[in-house]
Symmetry: C2
Subunit: 142 residues, 2 copies
DNA sequence: CCGCATCCTCTCGGATACTG
DNA sequence: CAGTATCCGAGAGGATGCGG
């Protein structure tokens, strides 16, 4: 069995899985709310992924620390994302009634399983980014 | 070795990988352009992922077919995304000089490797969406 | 220290109509 | 059929200041 056949088989397997996921949907009368789209829109959000990755790196982080690592994010967006991520069960929030107040964020067990999946994708991005950037340049499109 | 230790080891491995990726960045003087952020912003875009997944399902799709499957997307956004995905090397575009014109989109080999990664994440989303939705409901937040 | 409230900008994206 | 052009509205998100 040569390389082409292996790749071809992989292609078929992928298509089969996708058929299982999407094959049933009637695109003439699409579902109002698609759970996958819904969940993805939170979990795969640009800022959310960065937050989750950093919490996978450091077991516990406070608001301002997080803001430094996820550089470029604003107060507003950070707290929004944190709230949603907490609601969806990826992270936990623990506030200590001190003055000044101290708040700790960490991944839940569920969030931990997610960060592992997410990391795989990020590693792919990392190792393939040169190729993508090269493609982009060659293509021109400015 | 019990379950907790296994999970704990996994956690440590994940953190180590993330340290390798992010450990070097000086968050006081963050890089202007982060390649990973850049590449992710294209590839992990909500619409782009759907386009890529459908092209992983059907080897070749034309513009309007794609628009039906990726329901809810507008003309403008679809053609924008297609152009960028082509520039980044995920998909190929082939136009036939017929009347009316016919255009075929398909994954490149590179795009094929990406859709496989992406599929893993999507499967995770799919199987965990009930849990997330339940979390969300319990949490309130309306 | 955490993060909400306010304001204000500005980009993204939807709808529609039109052309090669 | 496969887009492009144009217009327009909504809402995301940045900056800042305040309050608990």
């Amino acid at each position: 069995m040569n390389m082409e056949t292996i790749a071809e088989n992989q292609k078929v397997r992928t298509a089969k899985k996708l058929e299982k996921m999407f094959g049933h949907i009637d695109y003439k009368h699409p579902p109002e709310l698609c759970p996958v789209r819904d969940v993805m829109s939170v979990a795969s959000d640009q800022w959310s992924t960065l937050i989750i990755l950093w919490l996978g790196y450091f077991p516990v982080l406070r608001f301002n620390k997080l803001k430094k690592f996820v550089y470029g994010i604003s107060n507003k967006v950070l707290s929004q994302r944190l709230k949603v991520l907490e609601a969806d069960g990826y992270i936990s929030r623990k506030a200590y009634a001190e003055v000044p107040i101290r708040v700790e964020y960490r991944l839940t067990d569920f969030g931990q399983t997610y960060v592992e999946k997410l990391l795989e994708l990020t590693e792919w991005m990392q190792s393939n980014s040169p190729k993508v950037l090269a493609n982009r340049e060659k293509f021109g499109l400015l």
